[in-house]
Symmetry: C2
Subunit: 301 residues, 2 copies
């Protein structure tokens, strides 16, 4: 049984907990709020007390479900203690740097850290890699949504006069997206001023954006999301090879499930001495699954 | 530069040649007809002559494009000489046995053999594995076609009175398929007798099958094929997660391209000492691609 600890208990942490409880080959070693000072304490070298802390240190792997910007600090502290980690760090432009920082730590401590796991970056990256191998020349478009964009929602909330906001990403094809921004205004705020400032914000200035005033953003709350990923390319000199990957999913549930599959892979890889820091395109898909190699080949190949 | 040899020069062998010529990190070490006795000779221990034979022995990896039933004998002889192999062995029920036979040879000789590579078994297997990891409970259906079924076409050709035949696989959803069988009759053959015997054949008796007489099967020749793979499942206790993978492709071109991607992976894995016999779900997708780890993470993750 793989012992899984969770740090962070928001939408993703709760989904990870559900996925661990549903997995027959896993047990929950403990859930830790990332704001608990106790966690920061155990991560300071030399600390030894608290049974809950011991649970964290005894875990085979720790899934990091904190806000993405806090992830690298936790991962580095855990890796320095030889604890395997899995996270859904999703700032695309910083993944290589983050990986380069974790790589020496994980190799030195003979642990495994799987980073940028989830659906994008994550399973979408695996599909993009596979399609590139299948048709090396050509174009891939990843179309997101309909679904909530966290980054754009935060940006909309930061506009003066906005009490609450929701920015939906609507796929228009060929990687082009429309932003539908639903805003709940603060008392006395002027909609047209809010709209004007929002449309000038760098998050929205480059895409088709519509701002809509609503009485309650909470009433629109929905964690559904989707992907429509397409590639048209060339295999062995033959043009017009067409590929398409679609999904409509509960976003935190899928992210949590993939993190748990990667937690399984991390422990397997550590057990066979394949230590280091990896993104999902560097993992063998079979390592994500419970069961033996033979069982999975029989069922899937 | 990875030196790739090809044994077998039918549709797949020709596609592999095109894919190798298009790959900037590969050179063609030689193409060998599998009926050439010279190949069987070099594979007998102790043989040393012929420059063409030397090309085969000097290759980093050999792609086996012979009829599928002949593949294991070639693979075992090459593996016994420490030559990496890649093949598209596609008899689903025999893959585990074949793998078990190659595993000790490849480990002993520190080579890599990648078996059952192509699109099904192959890239479809990878998608099925990934979707199972993403939603562990649920149902996956692989729907094939429209496209020619080799096995059913051979079965139709073997019916008395049939001069030439083409059996098309038509997807009806939930893994159920219709067989559209186009037959060109021999002089004097009776269509209704042929139809009767074909519908009783074990290849066709269990599916909806339509038999159609045509003046020329050659006029219908088309190597297009397709897949519609769907999964509806549960991630982290959340039901109704929907996934779909579709493709419409030139069949031998895609098979050849995937074999070449696997040839690249075989050499990479051998270089880092990860020897043995593997199916595609046991490979990291990044190993299928040219370029450095960092370049591929930057472009795909």
């Amino acid at each position: 049984m793989t012992k899984v600890a969770i740090i962070g208990y928001g939408n993703i942490g709760k989904a990870v907990e559900q996925a661990v409880l549903a997995a027959e080959d896993m047990t929950l070693a403990g859930v830790f709020h990332h704001t608990d000072s106790i966690i920061m304490e155990v991560l300071s070298p030399g600390s030894t007390r608290q049974s809950s802390v011991q649970q964290l240190l005894d875990a085979d792997v720790c899934v990091l479900c904190t806000p993405t910007r806090e992830v690298p600090a936790f991962a580095k502290q855990l890796a320095a203690r030889g604890i395997c980690t899995v996270d859904s760090f999703d700032i695309h432009g910083q993944i290589l740097d983050y990986r380069a920082q974790l790589l020496p730590l994980t190799r030195e401590q003979q642990s495994v850290s799987i980073i940028a796991a989830g659906w994008d970056p994550g399973s979408d990256s695996v599909v993009r890699a596979l399609l590139l191998a299948m048709a090396p020349q050509g174009l891939t478009y990843t179309n997101f949504g309909p679904g909530r964009s966290m980054g754009h929602t935060v940006a909309a909330k930061s506009i003066k006069g906005v009490k609450n906001a929701l920015s939906m990403t609507i796929p228009l094809g060929t990687g082009i997206h429309r932003r539908m921004v639903y805003v709940e205004l603060e008392d006395g705020a002027d909609f047209h001023t809010v709209e004007h400032n929002l449309l000038r914000d760098d998050y929205f200035a480059h895409d088709e954006t519509h701002v809509i005033e609503v009485p309650s953003v909470e009433a629109l709350n929905n964690v559904a999301h989707g992907v429509h990923l397409v590639r048209n390319g060339v295999s062995a000199n033959m043009h017009n090879q067409n590929f398409e990957f679609n999904m409509t999913i509960n976003n935190p549930a899928l992210t949590g499930q993939i993190l748990v599959a990667c937690a399984r892979a991390a422990v397997r890889m550590q057990q066979r001495g394949q230590c280091g820091c990896f993104t999902m395109i560097e993992l063998a898909p079979i390592d994500l699954l419970p069961g033996t190699t033979e069982e999975n080949i029989k069922a899937l190949v």
